[in-house]
């Protein structure tokens, strides 16, 4: 679940729970407040009555009678004073029933005894509970409405605010993690946010990316320097051996040993050159501004490599139905890419096997497929095939394990999509996808057989 949804659910949930709790205890609270208020007003009236009696005497009310009683018009309030036994002492407020003119009504009644001029009197001031509850209910209803409205408004504003608040997080994730491609040179601009945590996250990710960039740059630099530094000593050794080989005093036996040494040196030379090539590609030291026709390159390679096919009696079928040209490529690199793939297709093929080179056009994407009937690879081998120094094929016929690492570097550099499908003992298919056709559309079909 998304963070913003979680936050909204939590905030809304907690608000609703609090609201529900409030609604649940509202009647109790309101009752309590109403009761306290009633008590307070009853006490107030008693004070007034007592003050009046103190000033004018109890006869103001009794007027010679034994008791006095007075109602308001709707009988919702009454006051009564009567003589009481000397022994009676009361000072209570309670809810009780009273019969007033044949009606039995529930009253909140203040009962208090007081002495006046040697006599004991009972004062009762009552207020109908109905009149108390009258406001109580509508007050409660009103409070609930206001509460619901407030909760709704606040949830809505929370929703908007949370989304705004969280937005930079989404932007950071999208910009730094989803859309970013190694090397992380582009997109170094900060995501705008006033939230310091997001700033911190963004800064941390940028610094992490810079560290990765730096580490890779160092690795590339090391590879480039190391392989480059190897070339001079290799050069010296190689030229010394060459001179020794053709020296008149060198016997045939020694010559044979020198050739063996030269072969070994050749391996070292190839490895150094390949590593240097990879680091040059990775360091973007090749210009990619050429307009190149992949189909032409394929034909160049076939001419170059045909001797290898004859050697293993491999049949090559070229079924290219388009000849598109693509801009922003590098002829030599593309040549190297196809060369290595086709070379592998020959090298890891079966005797009398075949290779089919075809192409497809899906929408604007143009792909060249190179399919061999070779020994194929397991899934594990397919996963690792582009790693440097990987020699997955268990056959004795191996190279240095750099050919496909070069292919991968070139594909990344030239922005080509590379896909491989392989079935053990059945063969391997490489698909090289070129982005977007740009002009130069001419249907060409060639069924050259090599």
């Amino acid at each position: 679940m998304k963070l913003s949804s979680k936050l909204i659910f939590f905030i809304a949930g907690s608000k609703l729970a609090l609201g529900a709790l409030f609604v649940a205890i509202l009647p109790l609270v309101v009752n309590r407040i109403a009761s306290d208020f009633t008590n307070f007003s009853l006490e107030g009236q008693r004070k007034k009555v007592m003050a009046n009696i103190g000033k004018n005497g109890v006869e103001t009310y009794l007027a010679g009678e034994n008791s006095y009683g007075s109602y308001t018009m709707l009988k919702d309030e009454y006051i009564a004073i009567e003589k009481a036994p000397v022994s009676l002492h009361l000072d209570t407020i309670r809810t009780t029933k009273r019969i007033v003119e044949t009606d039995t009504l529930s009253y909140r009644v203040l009962s208090a005894t007081f002495g006046f001029k040697g006599r004991n009197y009972l004062l009762e001031i009552g207020k109908t509970t109905a009149s108390i509850n009258l406001y109580n209910d509508s007050l409660q209803k009103f409070a609930v409405y206001v509460l619901v409205l407030l909760i709704a408004i606040s949830i809505f504003s929370d929703l908007i605010f949370t989304r705004r608040l969280i937005r930079p997080l989404g932007q950071i994730i999208k910009k730094r993690l989803v859309n970013s491609k190694f090397p992380f040179i582009e997109n170094q601009t900060r995501v705008k946010t006033t939230t310091s945590d997001f700033n911190y996250l963004d800064e941390s990710l940028i610094s992490l990316m810079n560290q990765i960039n730096e580490a890779f740059a160092k690795e590339r630099e090391f590879t480039a320097n190391a392989s480059h530094e190897f070339l001079t000593p290799i050069s010296i050794l190689q030229n010394k051996m060459e001179n020794l080989l053709v020296d008149e005093s060198t016997s045939h036996q020694v010559q044979q040993s020198i050739v063996e040494m030269m072969k070994t040196l050749e391996r070292l030379k190839k490895i150094s050159r390949s590593l240097l090539l990879i680091s040059r590609i990775d360091n973007a030291q090749f210009i990619k501004k050429e307009r190149v026709e992949p189909a032409k390159i394929i034909n160049e390679i076939i001419e170059e490599i045909s001797h290898r096919m004859e050697e293993n009696n491999i049949n090559m079928e070229v079924k290219l139905s388009h000849s598109f040209a693509f801009d922003n490529l590098n002829h030599d690199l593309l040549f190297q890419l196809f060369y290595n793939i086709i070379h592998n297709a020959i090298k890891f093929n079966k005797k009398n096997g075949s290779i089919v080179i075809s192409d497809t056009l899906k929408g604007k994407d143009y792909s060249i497929l190179i399919e061999d009937t070779g020994m194929g690879m397991t899934e594990e081998e397919t996963r690792q095939m582009f790693n440097r120094f990987n020699k997955s094929n268990s056959s004795a016929n191996t190279g240095y394990g750099l050919g496909l690492a070069i292919v991968k570097s070139i594909a990344i550099y030239l922005d080509l999509k590379l896909q491989v499908q392989s079935k053990l003992t059945r063969g391997t298919t490489f698909e090289i996808q070129f982005k977007k056709i740009e002009g130069n559309f001419s249907g060409m079909s060639s069924g050259a057989k090599a």
Binding site: I236, K240, V259, K263, R267, R280, E304
Partner: protein
């Protein structure tokens, strides 16, 4: 023919000298920028081989100076830097060729010869190998009046061996000459042998080819007395 080798790796310069001497070149060596500059202003050379990474200055700078004092010489840049822009600038500045270290010595020699043919327009006569005649410039081979159909790579092989006649060339040297850095990485492959076999087959139809020798475990050689 005089060659100036400006190369800071002394051993390497020496090995180049040893090889070129066998091909009857007179060599002088310089190991630093200043040393090179001194020799360039003092003498005239037919070939000038310049390493780009020199102590005391940039080889390209030296090339610019050298072009003034020795405008007619053939220039070959030799470098381990192998950067594309070096190659482009070098060739733009008038270098005739460019060799990346490590290179095979016969390759250096063959490049020098190629420049000579191009630059000095040396008219070479038809030369004989066995009962055949070969024209390295116009790239053909004949038996009496019959032209022999060799593929481009087959002719490259014959002419490379012929240029280094009486010298054995290894399969590695031959394949790098023909396929450059695309030379195959598995050395037990016998495609050079396959080419030689084809060449022999084509030539044997006309005359014997015992001059094209296989040196067991080493390589091939054209024998010419």
């Amino acid at each position: 023919m005089k060659v100036l080798i400006i190369e800071d790796e002394k051993t390497l310069a020496y090995e180049m000298e040893v090889f070129l001497k066998k091909a009857f070149f007179i060599c002088e060596l310089a190991h630093t920028f200043n040393d090179g500059l001194k020799k360039l202003t003092a003498g005239l050379y037919d070939y000038i081989l310049i390493d780009l990474g020199l102590p005391g200055g940039d080889g390209l700078e030296l090339l610019r100076n050298a072009k003034r004092s020795n405008p007619d010489a053939a220039y070959i840049i030799i470098t381990a830097r192998g950067r594309l822009e070096d190659r482009v600038t070098g060739l733009d500045m008038g270098a005739d060729d460019y060799l990346s270290k490590p290179f095979f010595l016969p390759e250096l020699h063959s490049r020098m010869q190629a420049i000579s043919r191009r630059k000095f327009k040396i008219e070479q006569e038809l030369q004989s190998i066995g009962e055949f005649l070969i024209d390295l410039q116009k790239r053909f081979m004949v038996f009496q009046d019959i032209s022999i159909e060799l593929s481009r790579k087959e002719f490259d092989l014959v002419s490379y061996l012929f240029l280094h006649k009486n010298m054995v060339l290894t399969r590695g040297q031959l394949s790098e000459h023909i396929w450059g850095t695309f030379a195959d990485d598995d050395y037990d492959s016998n495609y050079i042998d396959a080419h030689i076999k084809n060449i022999r087959k084509k030539l044997n139809a006309y005359a014997p080819t015992e001059w094209l020798e296989t040196v067991r475990g080493v390589g091939y050689r054209i024998r010419k007395h």
